[in-house]
Symmetry: C2
Subunit: 489 residues, 2 copies
Amino acid sequence: MSAYDELMAHARETQALAQVAGRLGWDQETMMPRAAAPQRAEEMAALEGVLHARRTDPRVAEWLERAEAPDAAGAAQLRLIRRAHARATKVPARLAAELARVTSRAQGIWAEARAAEDPGAFLPVLSEVVALRREEGAALAEGGDVYDALLQDYEPGTTAAELEAMFAALRPRLAELRAAALDRPAPPALSGRFDPAVQHALAQELAQAFGYDLSRGRIDTAVHPFSSGSGLDVRITTRTDPADPFNCLYSTIHETGHAAYEQNIDAAYLLTPMGEGASMGVHESQSRLYENQLGRSRAFTGWLFRQMRARFGDIGIADEEAFYAAVNRVHRGFIRTEADELQYNLHVLLRFDLERALIAGDLAAGDLEAAWNDRFAADFGYAPERPSDGLLQDVHWSVGLFGYFPTYTLGNLYAGCLHAALRRDLPDLDDRLAAGDPSPATEWLRARVQRHGGLMEPRALIEQATGEAPSEVPLLAYLEEKFGRLYRL
Amino acid sequence: MSAYDELMAHARETQALAQVAGRLGWDQETMMPRAAAPQRAEEMAALEGVLHARRTDPRVAEWLERAEAPDAAGAAQLRLIRRAHARATKVPARLAAELARVTSRAQGIWAEARAAEDPGAFLPVLSEVVALRREEGAALAEGGDVYDALLQDYEPGTTAAELEAMFAALRPRLAELRAAALDRPAPPALSGRFDPAVQHALAQELAQAFGYDLSRGRIDTAVHPFSSGSGLDVRITTRTDPADPFNCLYSTIHETGHAAYEQNIDAAYLLTPMGEGASMGVHESQSRLYENQLGRSRAFTGWLFRQMRARFGDIGIADEEAFYAAVNRVHRGFIRTEADELQYNLHVLLRFDLERALIAGDLAAGDLEAAWNDRFAADFGYAPERPSDGLLQDVHWSVGLFGYFPTYTLGNLYAGCLHAALRRDLPDLDDRLAAGDPSPATEWLRARVQRHGGLMEPRALIEQATGEAPSEVPLLAYLEEKFGRLYRL
């Protein structure tokens, strides 16, 4: 066997084991008996140990030195294997173990502090997490920028400076738009009780309409909706609230975006490093485009309105136009995950700026609450009333996810670019959306983005799909047009 | 760390990974999307490769040489680790891979041959499987008996000669009993349609009554009922047939026997080699005792009759005595898994004798059908009418399970011994069973058998629990008394 073939055989087994770890995670959130957690923690730790040993295996370095890629896909495989190996070997085992230990503890402390509305109980351990991630970032950066090094785990090839250039143009326009929209009379809202079984059935139909293949997936219930797995086994979860069917329906469309991306990757890349989405940002571009630009469009909501009336009877809303306004309602609120399309990115930009300051050492954990509340008031016009509405709302930082938040907004920017391009290519898309059929759009995304898996770096992938360098311009234009019309601005 | 501590830390991770493999198996039978099978096969193969590498790790041999057990439990751990290591290292990697490949293919061929009623399509690959298992048995036996070597995988410390001595005494008495019972008028049978949801609810109550802890387990639906996992995560499955609620209810009690055994092992042995049932035979003794000696007893069926009447209304049976007869109905049939308590072991003894002849080389696969049908006619008085009722009915041999079948009957013998002993200790047990409460018996089994896990070898475990060497005598006495009374023999 050639060095390349040996390397790929090894990588293939590693990918298979990573899929097993993912399935354990799925099981934990959906099926696991409640008292099994301590045993599961040992099972996961043992499997993570196996994966770490494989990623740092010295043979990988030897194979990489000698391997010759047979083609462009092979070159991409080598790029991804080289990156994962470098990532795994640069971090000392002692530091990796310490990070696992402290973030596991910090997550529990965060949950308790959040329930008790007591940031003081959380900030000391957050300080520890920040210090460890700074140390890890320094090991990865090898003299370069520490935050950029952390960002590579989620968005390879992207720098904070690139993001900052786009985000800075976004923030003032979004803040203006939200203030103007909230100055207007509130649009109508749904009313009634929505049978969870009927919500589930409709969610399943929506998932399939958006291209989710249930012969290679399944939909279960979990506290937080998520998508997991790649290739032939990609599962999603949803949840139902009898008073708020949009939660179930739109989170299902969102997760379908993630899941369809994984399902649509070229079968030749199955169980290889290329057989997964290109980055968190590209992933989020698919899920948000499915959910918002398609799922919350005027055309598609018209179809959905008729479906909901047929299944739930009177939903407290008179016509398609009012339903479209209800689906896209801009509302006051503190919680990122509950934010509407217009305000969502303001939440993310807040976290991006604060976490860069934490990692740079310019902001101490002890000063975080004041910094959060000041920034929130500046962008939203009012301050959080309790810590669970403010700095304690997200689990991310407790588990050490620094560099992850900006990929949410980057995904929205990418979605804006892709949406503008696919609209140019599909002038009749609204006719199909109005009939409940988003398949011309999802097929366009499959062909231009999804099937490539990890073949290209994220920015290059978006650029070849759209013909333009990514920027904030299409997203802003889309939001201004949509909410300008909805709120008569 | 001492050699013992290093060895145990390694063994603990191996056990954790083996639990993960078990959970994948559970997922495959209950949750996996149907088109995911090819990917799952690679995931399982990768995980099995990891487990094999750990079991044959040369460090294990070094640690074993230097390890000193701190106590009796430690000595048992070393015994189990030594056995697993020897087992894994004696079989050449080439042979292990060949066995995996051929049995995987043979299972598919068996399923097709069974559907087509065509033994000729199956027997050539069965020949290959037998040859490979003979080769494996020879490698394991190192000059000793090949069949005994295979038996050790399922029933360590037991020889075919020991089994033969007990089984030979069983066979003629069972054949006589069955002939006499079938000469009598058939007892009443259930009639009606039994709502699957109500069956599930009652099955769940039964599982809990028999001691299954649902905070550390769950009940799902699968084509074939099974139990999987150890320690804090032990799951069972069941199935429902609207015309035959006994299938669901008694298979649930049976699987609860397996699952409660795993759940009741001393928590100090969690994720260690001792943290699993002692053998297949001991496992089956628990499941069969729960199902038959307890679940099909006159006292318990009286309670169950009232439960079924309350939940299903008219079930076509007038009183407790008739219900008891229906539950224990002796009936003509060809299929082992559908056999009643009286005839079940005749099915197993047939396979035991035939598989020993196959492994000894005294019977060629090509002659198997005639041998099967002759033997069946001798013991049951009539011959199978089609291969799916005869030699094609069980999957076991296609996947190379030689040495497994006798543990079913050994389990019944052990159940007979344990039942006799616990009845001596619990003279008032029937009063509690008549109130739907088997807990005095399950508690006795927990204390005498289950909590010990792999501390003792199977025979020694039964002997210390009952105070006597295992034999066929108690089971025969129980069956003759029970069916003698039921059929007025």
